[in-house]
Symmetry: C2
Subunit: 470 residues, 2 copies
């Protein structure tokens, strides 16, 4: 009889527990969808401030604005963390042209172009040369110096359209952008243009970071992206006329590093104040659009997590921090600095969640953690079913939180629907009107729900100051 | 030993079977994403033809265009099915104004307005009256004739933002639009304006069908929708000034029924030609936008199902029909006619799938069928996991295929992400540029995959010409 009563009590306890969690998630989602702040914050970041490239005046405005908004939430602490960041400036609007030299005349076709972040400028008169098209570094190598020297290399590898996860398609050709100039320069190329990393056919060129690595200055050749429509046009024209030329002009410049900041807010934990859980996104963005999806969305969703916890009456046991990282796009200095300081201070980070995949409808999370921890987290999956959150898979969690990785921490990345993301990524059409209010708010609620559950139940840690198993 | 060999053979058979299905789905998705026709067809329907209200010249153009495109696919049969449809015409652009009568002056505020489909016109000079705001039929009844007679009733019930499935939020207040004029007229109202059925705050009025049911002509009061922004403005102003007036003018008109068509194409089954599987959407649309999401997307996805089957080398055992229904929006005549003719001809329909929820990223299907059949279908769910298709739930499947319902048939509805759908639904911004090519193509591939699996494996039928269990 005693045994039956014990089982009954255990059952009732579990039932009530689950009921409480269901009710809490419902409160969180309702708050976000009917009384959320994320969209209003994003409106300000996107439309009042705009593109926020590291080292720019707008980046500084974004630091001040988000700090003041976090202060208004009545968190336990809000502070700025100093970090030196690179400063690259695009300069004047770039020009690009395809030049067809016929017997009697010259035809010039305007091309939509933008300098890649970190690229050198062309001379004031621009750069003009013949073009050699390749789709991979292997093709580049096969052609060799004889075919490449003195020419502009056109990297035309396209994102693979039949991959369902568009980030995989991006990963498959982003090295063209990042290392294209470095590789082409070895064979004597004088410049590089790349096909924009987008799955859509349109007229937007997409920027993004590139690196010359250890190349001496005289080998640092100008590097730019052209739109997918223009990439197709150029490729077609090259088939008819191998001797056509490409002209481009850009006046971008790298300056000395400048002082900037990560913006941090904290709700101090009621039971385990020395265990830290982090939610974050990056405050900097590229300069062509207003950075609404990349990563304004992640910034305001992360701020909203702390607001929703407070508004839903949840008092976390662990310390919850929102971190708005500076300089993810072209240096990752903010993410590195945060991890460095955390190590210096001996802070025990048990969880970090990044939102940096756009503000689209959330589908779930990727987790960078042990199999055992993932199995524990998957027990909460059914609580998310009413919100159509179904994706709980191992995978990359985010650049800014990457430096926190160790064998104990659970790193997680919000995974929104990715089909439209690269239509906007790093381009002039990454703007506020392409973020849907409800989709953004669903993401914030989904993040908050995971933070709530992790704070409440924790997961086993391999080692650490204490066994976490509530 | 024999037993072990039998188990082994069974296992290998099942494994190969599953491997084949995995490979087939992969082929289908790849075809759709890299070599699809759906987006090109939608471009034509949206941009070359445009809005396709039943009985209009554009609706006729859409019939001719889709018939000719289906013929070009080399199907076994393509034909038109005659159906008489209502013809309602909007007339000139509508006008709406809030009128504030102060002591010394009159202020007029322009309002974004559109007549509801099926509404009567105002007089040539328009209709002007005081306004009474309600949020439900219960409130209307509580106010009664004393408060309502001679006034314009303003139905301001908003879609419930914290419902995750936006179609539920729509269902919760669509009767305001459909029956608002009928209900208000009983209490002597002279006109009706409704808050647009959208979850977004913006300036677009959203039309849609309404009905006077059995009301005599003299009680058929003009009925229109105003944008959500204007609904908020009007509501705020009414709080300050109960005596403000509303003015609107519309010249819409109902004509006699006209002849139109369902467009039908068929691949005849190789083993069970008399068992029919249907995929469809509706060819008509509202007149304000170009009907790209509602339901151009469903039309081209349904056409694409048959093309993808052919391109993927699949020879269906059962007869697969694409049906492009006419007049879903304001009459459902096409859906009713199709079911009527199918019954007359004694056609055994075993499956019908409708796409009429927009061209957004597919999440899965709703199924209107027996529990037993749903359990059988759920066995295929794991095959869809690589495509992030996770939603297999009982539910409403679609208006056009509804009349085919019986105890044997499996009715299914494609369920795309619904968060943005009502931002565009029945409004001037339901246009081609808001449909994403990949999302549309993923939907077509998801539909094709289900059709392929159902054709291959079938489900048990309760009765019928034969037991279907391959």
């Amino acid at each position: 009889m005693n045994r039956i009563i014990t089982v009954l009590i255990a059952f009732l306890y579990m039932f009530t527990y689950a009921q409480n969690d269901e009710a809490t998630l419902k409160t969180i989602y309702k708050q976000s969808l009917t009384n959320g702040k994320s969209y209003e914050w994003l409106d300000y970041l996107s439309n009042e401030i705009g593109g926020r490239l590291s080292g720019s005046e707008n980046a500084q405005k974004a630091v001040e604005y988000t700090k003041s908004e976090l202060e208004a939430l009545g968190l336990d602490k809000v502070w700025l963390q100093e970090v030196m960041v690179p400063k690259w400036v695009r300069g004047e609007k770039e020009e690009g042209k395809i030049i067809l030299n016929n017997e009697n005349s010259t035809i010039k076709i305007d091309v939509n172009i933008c300098a890649l972040g970190g690229s050198t400028a062309t001379s004031d008169r621009g750069l003009q040369a013949k073009v050699v098209e390749v789709k991979s570094f292997e093709e580049l190598e096969a052609l060799g110096k004889a075919e490449i020297e003195g020419k502009i290399v056109f990297f035309n590898g396209a994102m693979q359209a039949d991959l369902i996860h568009t980030f995989e398609a991006y990963g498959g050709c982003s090295k063209q952008r990042y290392s294209g100039a470095y590789e082409a320069s070895k064979f004597g190329a004088v410049g590089v243009i790349i096909r924009s990393l987008s799955l859509r056919q349109d007229d937007y060129p997409h920027t993004g970071s590139m690196s010359y690595q250890d190349l001496p200055n005289n080998l640092r050749i100008p590097s730019a992206a052209i739109s997918t429509n223009d990439a197709n046009t150029l490729s077609e024209l090259l088939k008819k006329d191998k001797n056509l030329e490409f002209y481009f002009k850009q006046s971008c410049q790298q300056y000395d590093d400048v002082l900037s900041y990560n913006v941090i807010g904290e709700i101090t934990g009621s039971e385990f104040p020395n265990e830290y859980m982090l939610v974050g996104g990056h405050l900097d963005s590229w300069d062509l659009g207003d950075g609404a999806h990349d990563d304004g969305a992640g910034v305001v969703q992360s701020m909203e997590v702390l607001r929703l916890l407070k508004e839903s009456g949840i008092k976390p046991k662990r310390s919850i921090r929102v971190v708005l990282f500076m300089n993810e796009e072209n240096g990752l200095r903010g993410g590195r600095k945060y991890a460095e300081v955390a190590t210096q201070n001996g802070e025990n980070h048990v969880f970090a969640l990044e939102s940096d995949s756009g503000g689209f409808t959330p589908r779930g999370f990727s987790f960078d953690c042990s199999d055992n921890n993932l199995a524990q987290i998957e027990q909460w999956k059914s609580l998310f079913k009413p919100y159509l959150i179904h994706f709980f898979e191992k995978g990359y969690s985010g650049a800014d939180i990457g430096p926190l990785k160790n064998e104990n921490i659970v790193l997680a990345g919000l995974r929104p629907d990715s089909q439209r993301y690269f239509d906007h990524h790093h381009a002039a059409n990454d703007t506020f009107e392409h973020v849907n209010k409800r989709e953004l708010e669903l993401g914030a609620a989904t993040m908050t729900s995971l933070v709530y559950l992790f704070d409440k139940y924790g997961v086993n840690q391999i080692k650490g100051e204490q066994q976490i198993k509530d």
